[in-house]
């Protein structure tokens, strides 16, 4: 079994210790949705400073570039208009 996370329901493999941002980038997924302002969400600084890669995990928004991958993790783009649960 390859460990995988799910981006919008699509399985994405990851390596042990990898962040969600890194796994998505390696899978060629760079467009992480839109912020409420209309700005594209995407990894920019890669180290948790710019907040540009916020994605939704469960009820909360979190930086993809910092979030460690765990098998079965479900993440999706922010639906927009909400800043946090």
């Amino acid at each position: 079994m390859i460990a995988q996370v799910f981006w919008n329901g699509r399985p994405v493999p990851f390596c042990e210790g990898e962040t969600l941002g890194s796994a998505l980038t390696r899978a060629g997924i760079s467009d992480l949705g839109r912020a409420p302002t209309g700005q594209a969400r995407a990894v920019f600084c890669g180290i948790g400073q710019c907040q540009g890669c916020l994605v939704r995990v469960g009820t909360r928004l979190t930086e993809a570039c910092l979030l460690p991958c765990v098998d079965g993790l479900q993440a999706e783009p922010d639906a927009g208009g909400q800043t946090d649960a």
Partner: protein, 430 residues
């Protein structure tokens, strides 16, 4: 926050497990004081010594590896007094001295002293198209290389200014993905005499990078600036202004970098316990200085806490400061003057999607209050980390001090309410 997790703590809290933070921890623990080091990443290392994922080979140079091994040996020798908690974020310290930690090491604690060693952030000048997906900082590319030893997908272009561009370019070459071009705003190769006055270690490192990049046939354009990045049918197109006219490059990934600055947005300045900033977090002077500053600052803090005489200041720091000043002169360019020539719809504030036109609508010299309240610059989640410098320069008449847009507030970073009210909320993250 549940009361049972609030504890007065005899430990010194160090934020950042990079060179400065760990060097400080070694000194503090060496004086007999217990230390808790936290880092938001998955492993110690910071930006410079970011560690490869388990099972991935390290791409660090021999010099880097030796420096890290030496530091970790010193940490391990003090293991009973140093605890390192990763995947843990610092939310700030309030006026009562409560420090908020979230993530794996979540706690509300009252440390004996606070050492901020959060390193540097990258400066990235706004350019049309810099908000597009696949346009990242050059540092983000470097972090990927260091953790995965795997180059990014497709054609990579590096642009901006400073020694990091060539370092990343050389690493890409070594991993078999030579960048399509390096666009350097400065003229670093036309200062041979001043370059020779750099410390030998700087020269050897830089020469190694340059040789590898040149040998791979990578065009290194100097005095060149990115005019715009636009999406195309197969990736991105980068239009570049060079002293010999404009050129275009196709790319799938673009790394931008215009130098480094302290990563100090939102951090406390002082508190009821000693607060110390060390390394790039205080003054962005690079890895060599961070190690020296961490060591000296840790020794100073330990002496202060124990009522001992302060140790002699380190001469290392001045040497590194001189070297960085010289590097700054070598890479000097007119990029800043180009800011005001940007197209008016260029996004300045990435978070709030605010443009140069939005800034100009505020009139001349709106000041920090006008910029924030009327313009919403620096009000988004990044709190001005990526726009404050440019917005300040563009809105302030020459000769006046730049407004301080980012503020030192609590919390220092966005924190989900669930992290504060219910510790079990962490269960939401599978």
């Amino acid at each position: 926050m549940r009361g049972d997790r609030l504890m007065r703590d005899s430990r010194v809290l160090v934020i950042g497990a990079g060179l400065a933070g760990l060097a400080a921890a070694v000194e503090i623990a060496g004086a007999g004081l217990p230390v808790l080091v936290v880092d938001q990443a998955q492993a110690p290392g910071g930006a410079v010594h970011r560690q490869p994922l388990p099972g991935v080979r390290s791409i660090a140079s021999g010099m880097q590896r030796r420096r890290w091994t030496r530091l970790m040996a010193q940490i391990n020798a003090q293991a009973e007094r140093i605890e390192i908690r990763c995947n843990t974020r610092f939310g700030g310290m309030d006026y009562t001295g409560d420090a908020l930690l979230t993530g794996d090491g979540r706690a509300l604690m009252q440390p004996r002293a606070l050492v901020l060693a959060t390193g540097a952030r990258e400066r990235v000048q706004p350019r049309p198209g810099w908000t597009l997906p696949c346009v990242t900082t050059a540092g983000a590319i470097q972090a990927e290389l260091k953790t995965t030893a795997h180059p990014p997908y497709g054609r990579v272009l590096l642009a901006g200014s400073g020694p990091l561009l060539l370092a990343v370019a050389a690493e890409l070459v070594r991993l078999g993905r030579a960048p399509v071009a390096v666009i350097e705003a400065g003229h670093p190769f036309s200062h041979p005499l001043s370059a020779l006055r750099l410390p030998a270690s700087y020269l050897i490192e830089a020469a190694g990078y340059l040789l590898r990049v040149k040998a791979a046939g990578v065009p290194v354009l100097t005095g060149a600036h990115v005019l715009a990045i636009t999406p195309s049918a197969d990736g991105l197109v980068v239009r570049v202004n060079t002293p010999r006219g404009d050129r275009s490059f196709g790319a799938d990934r673009i790394g931008l970098h215009d130098g480094i600055a302290p990563n100090d947005a939102g951090l406390p300045v002082d508190g009821p316990v000693p607060v110390l900033r060390l390394g790039d977090c205080r003054e962005a002077l690079g890895a060599r200085a961070a190690l020296a500053d961490g060591r000296a600052g840790g020794g100073r803090l330990a002496a202060q806490l124990l009522g001992r005489a302060a140790p002699d200041p380190s001469a290392d720091l001045d040497l590194q400061r001189q070297a960085q000043r010289r590097l700054g002169a070598i890479y000097a360019h007119d990029g800043l003057t180009r800011l005001s020539d940007l197209p008016s719809d260029t996004v300045l504030c990435r978070c709030e999607n605010r443009t140069l036109a939005d800034l100009r609508a505020l009139g001349s010299n709106p000041g920090a209050r006008g910029l924030r309240l009327d313009g919403r610059f620096g009000m988004g989640p990044c709190q001005g980390r990526f726009c404050a410098e440019w917005v300040g320069r563009l809105s302030t008449p020459a000769g006046l001090p730049l407004p301080h847009i980012g503020s030192n507030r609590w919390p220092s970073r966005p924190i989900p309410i669930s992290d504060l009210v219910d510790p079990s909320a962490e269960g939401l993250e599978p």
